[in-house]
């Protein structure tokens, strides 16, 4: 295969925002997560924990709490508003002002008919959930001091509210305060959980997890968990397990079991401690099989509970999701430019010349947009882009793409449509809207364009569906057969016009746009099956590109490796060594042919955000080392010292 010159780039200062809150929907197996900058992310736990959707944050939308009601997702924040999200078009559907000052917490009853929020002014406000909106119903009896946490009893009759120094129990029907459990002074009850047996569990700023009898208001048991705060609690669906997140980065599990073998009576016993975070654990979710946690250190950690999953399987492996499952880097192959996408601005850099280790990289342009997700692919011919007036329809675009001759711009829009805009030197003009055949209202997620014969093609992937449009005739060209897993990366080969799609379950498909069918190679791959080690990788492929020199080469990467697939070589058998580069290196040249297979995997680079092949056949690898990200975090409250 030969030598590659690699531009190893580590100056992309991408810094994700801290995780503020999360909510898990056990029916759809989706985890909703908000970050400190207000960005919302949806992870599909059924599909390899893939980050399906991202709704960018907005200034002043500091989300404090999230709540699923069926398929609908609500959030509330310190701006005093309740927001429902449009998960199809990836934007807030509407916001409702609660008029109670900053909102600290949100919750719904089990029936999904009522929403309640806890406000700074000491009120708990009830909203009725209607089909298209929510409507204010009433206030519960107003308290002195803010309502920090809320939990609804499964029966829907009682509500526990955590406040400063106390927990109050309300009757949900009458709104009257029933009783309260006094706490010691100067304590914030950060989180409460109301169990069906009328047990209330609280986590507070004194570092205690306390178990109360909700009927009598008496304290049953106190567990001192940390010297700092217990910030969040989460109870499993069957109420047999409870997890508490602390400021020192630990998650402590409690289980409702009998403490000794012969004892019949069950109680809450502290069982396990997980330490997967360096900073505050701000958000927790207890799924059927795993503990999901996130916090100040920006990583989402899925820690399977080993008593719930089969040991030593892929399912039992811990996952840390530190980088987004989308490509934030774009590479102009001819010009040697790199475009970095930040939440609020873009940076363009030029890669250096090969005279040793030139710390070159010219910063060419910075386009600043506020909290948008425009992805600008530097067009092949135009060196600079002057955006003067944009058509009105373009104001909400999640993906952008230029045609290969730079005359057209494609932008994804609401209802899975694609807007086509003509570009010339001075202005851009609205041309056409490509609409999906079925009236489904889902948003385009993936988008690419390529030159194919005389026609220009663009691709739209709608969740699991991949649709192809011809961009000259502006008609639907074809639809790729539906596959169960989300596509994570899509590209069209510039010469053969084969479409390569990689899915969240690590499957690779090659589809011929001419024949409108899977290619021979793709069929062979499916027949033989991918190597088990390939399928066991736990980060999705986020970018696919091709070699201009050798059409048989496909280059793709995930977070921990990049791979050049040589379609001319035999596919690896299930018994052959997948990661065979070290072996090949040690072999004499003649024997290498015999042992080599199609997957050339290089694991020299870690935390890869982009791998691309420039026109001069040199590789660009953009890394974002986790240690660099960690070093930008504030100091944690407690640092682990050896042997302490």
């Amino acid at each position: 295969m030969g030598e590659f010159k690699v531009h190893r780039v580590r100056f992309f200062d991408y810094m994700p925002s801290a995780i503020r809150a999360m909510a898990f929907n056990s029916h759809t197996e989706r985890l909703a997560l908000v970050r400190a900058d207000g960005a919302l992310e949806i992870f599909n736990f059924a599909d390899h924990y893939f980050q399906e959707k991202v709704i960018p944050g907005q200034d002043g939308r500091a989300v404090e709490a999230l709540c699923w009601v069926g398929q609908r997702l609500f959030s509330a924040g310190l701006n005093g508003e309740i927001t429902e999200y449009d998960l199809e078009n990836l934007r807030p559907r509407y916001t409702v002002e609660a008029y109670g000052g900053p909102i600290w917490t949100i919750g719904s009853n089990k029936q999904g008919t009522l929403l309640m929020v806890g406000c700074e002014d000491g009120t708990v406000k009830m909203f009725e959930i209607l089909k298209e909106r929510i409507q204010f119903q009433r206030n519960l009896e107003r308290q002195k001091g803010r309502i920090v946490s809320l939990s609804w009893h499964p029966s829907g009759t009682l509500i526990a509210a955590g406040m400063m120094d106390m927990i109050r129990i309300f009757n949900a029907e009458t709104g009257k305060e029933m009783q309260h459990d006094p706490e010691s002074r100067e304590v914030v009850v950060w989180s409460v959980a109301f169990l069906s047996d009328y047990t209330i569990i609280s986590g507070d700023s004194a570092g205690k997890v306390q178990i109360w009898d909700g009927l009598t208001g008496t304290l049953v048991r106190t567990h001192l968990v940390t010297k700092w705060d217990v910030l969040c609690l989460s109870v499993s669906q069957d109420e047999s397990s409870l997890i508490a997140g602390t400021s020192e980065g630990t998650v402590v599990q409690f289980q409702f079991i009998s403490s000794t073998v012969d004892q019949q009576e069950e109680e809450w016993v502290r069982t396990r401690t997980f330490k997967n975070h360096s900073h505050d654990v701000r958000a927790l979710a207890h799924t059927e099989t795993a503990v999901v946690s996130g916090g100040m250190d920006t990583q989402l950690v899925v820690r399977p509970l080993l008593d719930k999953v089969e040991k030593n399987t892929q399912e039992s492996a811990m996952r840390k999701i530190a980088l987004p499952h989308r490509s934030l880097v774009c590479c102009a192959k001819k010009a040697g430019l790199l475009l970095f996408q930040f939440p609020d601005h873009l940076e363009v850099w030029r890669v250096g010349e090969s005279d040793g280790h030139g710390e070159e990289n010219t910063h060419t342009h910075t386009h600043t947009h506020t909290h948008t997700h425009y992805l600008i692919l530097p067009s092949p011919s135009s060196s600079s882009l002057q955006v003067s007036k944009l058509p009105k329809d373009l104001c909400l675009g999640h993906q952008l793409c230029f045609s290969s001759d730079s005359t057209k711009l494609f932008a994804s829009s609401r209802h899975s449509s694609v807007i086509v805009v003509a570009l010339n030197q001075l202005e851009c003009k609205y041309l056409h809207t490509l609409k999906p055949k079925s009236g489904e209202s889902r948003l385009a997620l993936f988008f690419s364009s390529s030159y194919f014969q005389l026609d220009k093609l663009s691709i739209v992937a709608i969740e699991t569906t991949v649709t192809i449009y011809g961009s000259v005739c502006l008609q639907l060209h074809c639809t790729v057969p539906i596959y169960s897993s989300c596509p994570t990366a899509i590209a069209i080969h510039p010469t053969t016009s084969h479409l390569v799609v990689v899915h969240a379950d690590q499957q690779i498909f090659e589809y011929s746009l001419v024949q409108k069918e899977y290619t021979e190679w793709s069929r062979k791959l499916q027949k033989q099956g991918l190597h088990s080690l390939w399928l066991e990788r736990d980060t999705p492929v986020t970018h696919v590109t091709f070699s201009l020199k050798n059409p048989a080469h496909i280059i793709l990467h995930d977070m921990f490796m990049f791979c050049i697939i040589d379609q001319s070589l035999p596919l690896p058998e299930s018994k052959t060594l997948l990661y065979n580069q070290m072996t090949l290196r040690s072999l004499p040249e003649q024997e290498r042919i015999r042992h080599s297979h199609a997957f050339k995997i290089c694991k020299n680079f870690k935390h890869v955000m982009c791998v691309s092949l420039l026109e001069d056949h040199s590789l660009v690898v953009v890394e974002r080392p986790l240690l660099d990200m960690m070093s930008q975090l504030p100091a944690p409250v407690r640092q682990k010292k050896f042997a302490t």
Binding site: M1, G2, E3, F4, K5, V6, H7, R8, V9, R10, F11, G352, S354, G356, H357, G358, E359, E360, N361, I564, Q581, L584, R585, R592, S596, K600, C602, N604, L619
Partner: protein, 670 residues
Amino acid sequence: MAALYEGYTLCGLVPGQTLTNSGIQGIEAERDSDHVVVTDSTRSVTLYKVSDQKPLSSWTVKQGQTLTCPAVYNSQTEEYVVVSDNKVIRIWKDEDILLDKAFKATVSSDVWRVHCLPGGEPVVLFQRGAVRLLDSLLSAPQQPIEEVLAQEEAIRWSTNIVADSQQFVIFTTEQKGDSFLYLHRLNPNTLQRYRLEREEPGLSPLSFSASYRDKHICLLYLYPNGHVYQSVVSVRGLGGDEGAQALPLPRSLLLGLPVGEGLLEAASAQLLDEAHVAVVGVPHPSAGAGKDFLCIWNTNFQTLQAGKEMAGKIYGQLWTFSNKLFIPHGKTLSVIPYECPKSSLASALGKLKQAKTEGELKQMSCVPSWNNILHGDKAQPSRPAETRKTVSNFIKTKYLNFSVQTAPVEEVQREVEGLLSRADIQDLQPLVGQLASMLVSRSLADPAFYTPSTLAQLVHTQSLCHSVCPDLVLLALERRDFFLCQLCLQFFPDIPEAVTCACLKAFIRVVIKTGEEDKEKSSTPPEPICPVGLHKAVLLNEVLLTAYSDTFLLPHLKDLSSQHVVLFLQYLQFLYLKYSQDASPQMHGLRSPSLTQIMDWVCMVLDAHFTVLVMTPEAKGLLVNLHSFVKSQVRLVSELGKIEGSLQELNKMKVKKDVGQYSIEIIELF
């Protein structure tokens, strides 16, 4: 640490025309330590009272006559002796006003010097090397004087010394670049001639200084290249053969002084005591090339102890009488009191705890004048008040010394307390050492005298160390003052192993008396019971905490009786168990030994007494227990050894090269 105090002017000088001569021919002691006779280089002799800085009387020879030798004072007859015009010896008394009317005698040969020690007889040294007692010379002034020296040999320097009630005249000569030392003993007369080893060609000694100690005469001489040599001659082995053969004189290099640029021209080195040398006319090591400095060096540790810049020209002359240095410089003759307390390495290096005071830090921060660094503010002449205080300290010290040697216990306590309560205690470190050694020697001499609280106070100042007063700990042991012992163990950084062991022995012996009662009470101990009483344990802990070197300690440990050894081991075992169980050994008081210290002591005691212990039946259980400790330690170490490899790998991983923000690399795929 040796110190130079603020000096004062004794008199002005009338330097000779050439300016190379200070105008002073010599200074000699008079009746007591406060009187000196100064002879100038022309015609007059002046008697000074030093502390008053004023002349008491003065005598002058006639115009045309010159004094050729410094006047000396014969304390036996209370007469002054001087030589004028090389051959005329003049003798007069204090009440004689005119020198011309005094006794005169003319001798047949040129006189080099007249020497007279306090209480000794005046001796006349002729220029050709002959020696006569003054009395016998005057009985026949014109008697023939023999020639001792060779043709081109000339005397450079001379002195006399009383050693074991025998008087010696010592002089050095120079002949064709060679230097010789003559040792002339009087009654019976013997003469020994030594040849000094040659230094670099063309260099001859600039100054000499001699002293007598331990039946040896010690000669110190300074060469222009800054080398200070010492030669030691035994007074016993002086043979009879009349200096025909010049014996080679072995020498040892005491100091290599910094000379700056070029050679020394006018410099002098004077022995102050066995460890200190005062040097004048040599550059200060940290103050550039200027040579106008007076310094005190410690020859044992080769450290500069004190230094002082002398204004004006230095003539290379230096005298010392009773803790005062007399030094002519510029146009004055200055008197500089000094003090050289017994030195320890710690104090010589300035390492005693008290040295790191705020004041010193302050001086370190501003370094305009090195004068400041050495003396602090007290040396700055711009502060007369401070100066006066220092001088008064000095005088007060004298008084205190006197009272400590004679006064009753209560008064001594009061005096010392008064002294220690002063704020500037840090400046008094030499004094504290002096006081302590005086108190100790008095206590040793007088069984009725003992001042435990005063000694404890002195130890508490942390200005003391064992080498300053080596008898203190033993005195405390002798008087069974265990509190003082404990203090000494705690505060002295340099207790020898023998003394540590003596303390240990004494402590254990005390322990046995009360310790056995404790053991009786607890028949079946449910948990480890301390085998010794509480305050004995405190004492033993202090021993365990002392620094030691096991090679030196081991032989002394062997002196312990087996009974004591068993008890001591029991105590160590108790400590080991206690600390290995307890997470917080601080519970037992602030000064408790560490686990490693305990283990080290266990090993050492076992090393010293293993064969005896094996034979002792009551030690059997103890040995088995200790064996199990060792086993657990061995297991721990072997476990640590197992992870050593992994830890080293971790280390290797750390040196992984830093990639940096951007680099271009070449990778190869196969």
